[in-house]
């Protein structure tokens, strides 16, 4: 139903049954007058609230969303609100990257006895939403196309892995192969400038293994499908973080996996490489030196310096060596201390909220909804049971609209909160080159800021921040409602 024009805005509330819904009742019994905009959805516990309900509401036309639960320590279900607090805070920090004003979403704690407090919360929040006015509608945004500046200063010298001990690695794999069903790596693809995954099952397959800046795929994506089998995997540093994350989530078993690692010096951004190569008939030669690759295609020479053509993630990479490995050969180049805001995220950071919404509106018009991003993601472990193409639960309609596509990207990003290692496979796999990695990067940044610099994929025994809680959160503070 439409909102009362000129009188009301659309505000959705999610209230836990035991405290806040009772608090709203207490306010009602006391005839504590309130603005009429809010519509309350009763849920058993604030822990029941999937942050995606809130995104669904905000993308669907809500001007504000208010969540309220029991005070921390007073949860009817012992700990539901502790989990909710972390998830809702991450959401709050995520919304702006979509172009949604984070002030349109708030969460708080109101007990069943606090009728007056509820009256105040509703009044203050409704006033705030009226001050912000009607929320800009995603569907109404004028598409805006902007490109990220992909070349950044790297935290370490990037190279092409010329000195990598590939032959020793092959020997190590040959030695181990009899005990393994398969070893996953890379082989040359349709030409020397492209690689595809290699599944080594026989000793003679080992010779096909290649190493270098064209090894862009993350082989960890294949690991869960080998669950229960003995499998080897050759990893770059970033790939190894995905392996650690899969171990942490019990999706593979440590004793089943043998990890072979070489230090990585960087990989090429194949989207930009292909763009520069343009349409060609054949590759004449590919030569690598320490600084980059020279590709001759149809007689024309193209130079790809690693400082300019590396993948965005490589500039800020702090794990050139595998974080976990059984066979480790060679020494990685040292990493300077510091952080690099990845180029995709830097682009979003430079925009206003309106520009971001317009940006995603433009990008999502280009989305084919092919789900290559999902299928390439090593952490997308739901596989055939992704909620984006299920009817039960039915999170997404089949409507081919930019809004639904952005909602899918949000689902992916939220499901990766505290899990995404930033391998960038989603974005690399995107056939139309949408910088969707920025959404995952914003989630990762929020998680790191909130939870003491937590970075997924470093420790197989770590408790992921969104599956745990602290009774007193160091970096999450109750807001003032005065």
């Amino acid at each position: 139903m439409p909102v009362l024009e000129g009188k009301e805005l659309r505000i959705v509330g999610f209230l836990c049954n035991w405290c806040s819904y009772g608090g709203a009742d207490t306010a009602g019994v006391a005839r504590a007058g309130q603005p009429t905009d809010l519509r309350i959805i009763r849920v058993p516990c604030s822990g029941r609230i999937d942050p995606l309900f809130i995104v669904k509401a905000l993308l669907g036309g809500a001007d504000g969303v208010l969540v309220s639960g029991c005070h921390p320590r007073d949860c009817h279900y012992a700990a539901g609100n502790f989990y909710a607090r972390r998830r809702l805070e991450v959401l709050k920090q995520f919304l702006p990257v979509l172009g949604i004003d984070e002030r349109r979403f708030e969460y708080t704690w109101v007990s069943a006895s606090e009728g007056q407090r509820w009256q105040q919360v509703v009044t203050v929040f409704t006033e705030r939403i009226h001050q912000l006015g009607r929320a800009p509608r995603f569907d109404d945004a004028e598409p805006l196309l902007k490109l990220a500046d992909m070349a950044l200063t790297s935290l370490r010298p990037l190279g092409t892995g010329q000195t990598a001990a590939l032959d020793e690695l092959k020997d190590a794999i040959r030695a181990k192969l009899p005990e393994l069903d398969c070893v996953i790596g890379w082989q040359q693809g349709y030409d020397a400038a492209h690689t595809v995954p290699l599944f080594i099952r026989k000793p003679e397959d080992v010779d096909k293994l290649v190493w270098g800046p064209f090894n862009v795929n993350n082989p960890a994506v294949y690991l869960p499908s080998f669950k229960g089998k003995k499998v080897g995997i050759v990893v770059k540093g970033c790939d190894s973080r995905s392996v650690v994350e899969l171990l942490q989530e019990n999706l593979i078993r440590r004793e089943d996996v043998t990890i072979f690692a070489l230090p990585c010096e960087g990989t090429l951004d194949m989207a930009r490489v292909n763009e520069k190569l343009g349409r060609y008939q054949r590759i004449d030669s590919v030569s690598l030196d320490e600084a980059g690759a020279t590709i001759v295609a149809d007689g024309t020479e193209h130079r790809f310096c690693m400082t300019e053509y590396a993948q965005g993630k490589c500039y800020g990479c702090t794990t050139p060596a595998a974080v976990l490995a059984d066979t480790r050969l060679g020494t990685p180049t040292p990493v300077q201390p510091g952080t690099v805001v990845p180029p995709e995220l830097a682009l979003l950071d430079s925009m206003s909220l309106e520009e971001r919404m317009a940006f995603w509106r433009g990008q999502m018009e280009r989305c084919l909804r092919c789900y290559a991003c999902r299928n390439a993601c090593p952490m997308c472990v739901c596989r055939d049971f992704c909620i984006s193409d299920s009817r039960n639960p039915h999170w997404m309609s089949q409507e081919d609209s930019p809004r639904e596509k952005l909602f899918f990207q949000t689902i992916h990003a939220m499901h990766l909160a505290g899990r995404c290692t930033g391998c960038g496979e989603c974005q690399r796999a995107c056939p139309v080159g949408i910088p969707i990695l920025a959404l995952r990067q914003q989630i990762a940044r929020a998680v790191a800021q909130l939870f003491d610099g937590y970075r997924p994929g470093l420790d197989p025994a770590a408790v992921p921040p969104l599956l745990g809680y602290e009774v007193e959160e160091k970096n999450i503070h109750e807001r003032d409602w005065k």
Partner: protein
């Protein structure tokens, strides 16, 4: 689906600010709605009969009632639809009273809001499925926390009803605050004489297990099957050997130990039995003041103990009890009155609390029942009582009335005259609140028969006059003039607050408490004994200020609730619990990891690990549903699809 919608007027409660007929008319256009009406009182007998009739006549398979909060009448209407042959979960409520008509003045906005709430309920109902509860066994044993008069009454009533009782008391003796009182109003009965026999009954009752000097450490489980860890604090005395003879207390050299039972009015010994009628009558060593335990040399009590009960190496012990129900009866403490600097802030020895005064009046107290000033041991001839010290005072964050202070102040004035016939008492009061049976008559007696001077007004300052007396400066607001009284002793009627640790216990019990720490009842008028956690009941002042008869009555009421609960052999489990779609589960274990109740386990299914919900353990919070990325675990009755339907009903621009 065929849905019927009933928009309740609730007299003028809803009908006054919501156009109910219009809401019903709008509802007829909502999906699957085949019938809508706007009865005057839906919860009344004719209203419920109309729902049943409509279900039959219009072949409804789902009902929405828009009326008051579901926390009030959801069970009522679920029974109604069940009587008409529907599953009780094919019912939804829209709260258009507490959340609409009572808080908004604009009738147009209210009507529109009510219609939208009905639409949300209809959209949710369209996705409801019939649910069937399962039954489970209950442990017919009750835990009572707190051995004051309320807890004692609840324990005795439960035990007499044939239910085994576990009574946990934090102090070394049961009796609570009442055991410290000298006399009780309005009969001026001896407190120990009326409470003592009940305490003895507790000790002797075959159905009662008493853990004194013990605290509840942890509570898990749910109604019918709670598991409680109880910490038995180290008494350093083996109570199975201690006979309570008191030989140790006579010889103990640490004679300056603060006496908590006597409200610090006099010292006691490090090894101590709280008072002569203590139950259990067992000695406890105060470790902080015991020379053997703090300095390592003494051991006198061990030498004199005729049964060899002293155990300096004793440690706390944890015992576990399985119970089916819990009664919280944790009582109160006095607020910290020393925030009142105008009353000396605790500097003046002869400005004392009313509970300290009770100990001075009591024959078992430090003065043997003679009223003597703490400073010089002189008998006071002029006593000033000040009421509402920390009650009805927003400036110290205590806006509530402590309820029983008016009455005990009158009693103490009467007793003062009894003890010291040539004394004069003054009472500074704000209002006299004496609504109980024989209460007002009693306060009249204090004035008319005992000559107590009641002055309506507050005291602004107390200071010593340097000659052994205190000057009490106040104002008589009836005469409109300042008052100055020279007092030998000043007694403050200090306001009450929730017992120390009450909020931590509430967290263990998973019950709510208000901003002052008092436990929240389920409904302020109609469920004053129940809490929002099934199987947990309240008795006494832990729920709010009340005097002895009211505490006893609530103790009995809590016992009645326990006995009613245990009258059944099996309980029905709430079917609104999580369910796993085994096909979708990838066994990532996220739900298992975050379930607060350990209600999800990993099972093997056709060679693959899958999550499975333990139905009797699941409490239905839905945390797992919000955690599972593939939506494989769904909370029945609050599924993703149901909540999404409610969101979409509002947000489809």
């Amino acid at each position: 689906m065929r849905i019927g919608v009933f928009i309740c007027h609730c007299g003028s409660n809803i009908g006054g600010t919501v156009d109910c007929a219009r809401v019903a008319e709008l509802s007829r256009a909502f999906p699957d709605v085949v019938y809508a009406d706007d009865p005057m009182y839906t919860c009344a007998e004719p209203g419920q009969a109309a729902i049943e009739a409509a279900i039959h006549e219009h072949r409804l398979d789902g009902v929405v009632v828009a009326s008051c909060t579901p926390r009030m009448h959801e069970p009522t209407f679920r029974r109604t639809v069940e009587r008409a042959g529907l599953n009780r979960y094919m019912f939804e409520m829209a709260n258009i009273r507490e959340h609409v008509s009572w808080i908004g003045k604009d009738k147009e906005a209210n009507t529109n809001k009510a219609a939208e709430l009905v639409l949300m309920a209809v959209e949710k109902l369209r996705r409801n499925t019939p649910l069937t509860p399962k039954s489970f066994d209950i442990t017919k044993k009750v835990l009572i926390i707190g051995g004051g008069v309320a807890g004692i009454q609840a324990a005795l009533d439960c035990a007499d009803g044939g239910v085994p009782v576990v009574l946990v008391e934090r102090e070394a003796t049961i009796g609570g605050k009442m055991a410290k009182l000298d006399k009780t109003f309005p009969t001026v009965d001896c407190s120990a004489c009326i409470l003592g026999p009940k305490m003895v009954d507790v000790a002797q009752h075959p159905n009662i297990t008493l853990y004194a000097y013990a605290e509840v450490e942890d509570i898990s489980g749910y109604v019918g099957n709670f598991s409680v860890k109880i910490r038995k604090k180290a008494a350093y005395v083996d109570w199975s050997k201690c006979t309570g003879c008191g030989a140790c207390t006579e010889k103990c050299p640490a004679r300056k130990t603060p006496d908590a039972f006597n409200e610090l009015t006099g010292p006691t010994t490090a090894i101590n039995i709280a008072f002569p009628q203590a139950i259990p009558k067992k000695a406890v060593i105060n470790a902080a003041h015991c020379r053997q335990l703090s300095k390592g040399k003494c051991g006198v009590c061990a030498k004199v103990c005729p049964t060899g009960a002293i155990r300096y190496d004793m440690e706390d012990e944890i015992v576990t009890e399985e119970v089916g129900s819990i009664v919280a009866a944790t009582g109160y403490d006095l607020m910290d009155w020393t925030v009142y600097s105008e009353y000396g802030g605790g500097k003046y020895p002869d400005v004392i609390t009313s509970l300290q005064y009770e100990r001075l009046l009591s024959a078992s107290g430090p003065t043997g029942g003679h009223i003597l000033r703490p400073s010089d041991g002189r008998e006071p001839k002029s006593v000033v009582f000040i009421q509402c010290v920390g009650s009805r005072d927003k400036s110290v964050g205590r806006p509530y009335c402590s309820g029983f202070c008016c009455m005990y102040t009158a009693k103490q004035a009467v007793l003062t005259k009894d003890h010291i016939p040539d004394s004069q008492s003054w009472v500074f009061y704000m209002d006299i609140r004496a609504p109980g049976k024989m209460y007002d008559e009693f306060t009249r007696r204090a004035v008319e028969e005992y000559g107590t001077e009641y002055i309506r007004g507050r005291v602004s300052a107390i200071y010593p006059d340097g000659k052994g007396q205190y000057v009490v400066m106040g104002v008589d607001t009836l005469l409109g003039q300042p008052v100055e009284i020279k007092a030998d002793l000043v007694v403050l009627a200090v306001g009450i607050e929730a017992s120390k640790g009450a909020s931590q216990l509430a967290e263990k019990l998973r019950i709510s408490y208000d901003q002052y720490g008092f436990f929240m009842e389920s409904h302020v008028k109609l469920k004053p004994v129940e809490t929002n956690t099934a199987g947990v009941f309240l008795a006494g002042v832990c729920q709010g200020a009340k005097d002895i008869p009211a505490s006893v009555a609530q103790g009995s009421a809590a016992a009645a609730k326990v006995l009613a609960l245990f009258a059944r052999d099996k309980l029905e489990s709430d079917p609104q619990i999580a369910q796993v779609d085994m096909r979708r589960c990838v066994n990532c274990g996220k739900c298992i990891r975050c379930c607060p109740f350990g209600a999800i386990k990993e099972v093997e299914m056709r060679g693959e690990g899958k999550a499975q919900v333990i139905e009797t353990v699941c409490q239905g919070c839905g945390l797992c549903t919000a955690t599972c990325p593939q939506g494989a675990i769904q909370l029945s009755h609050a599924t993703d699809n149901q909540i999404l339907a409610e969101v979409n009903a509002l947000c489809q621009c």
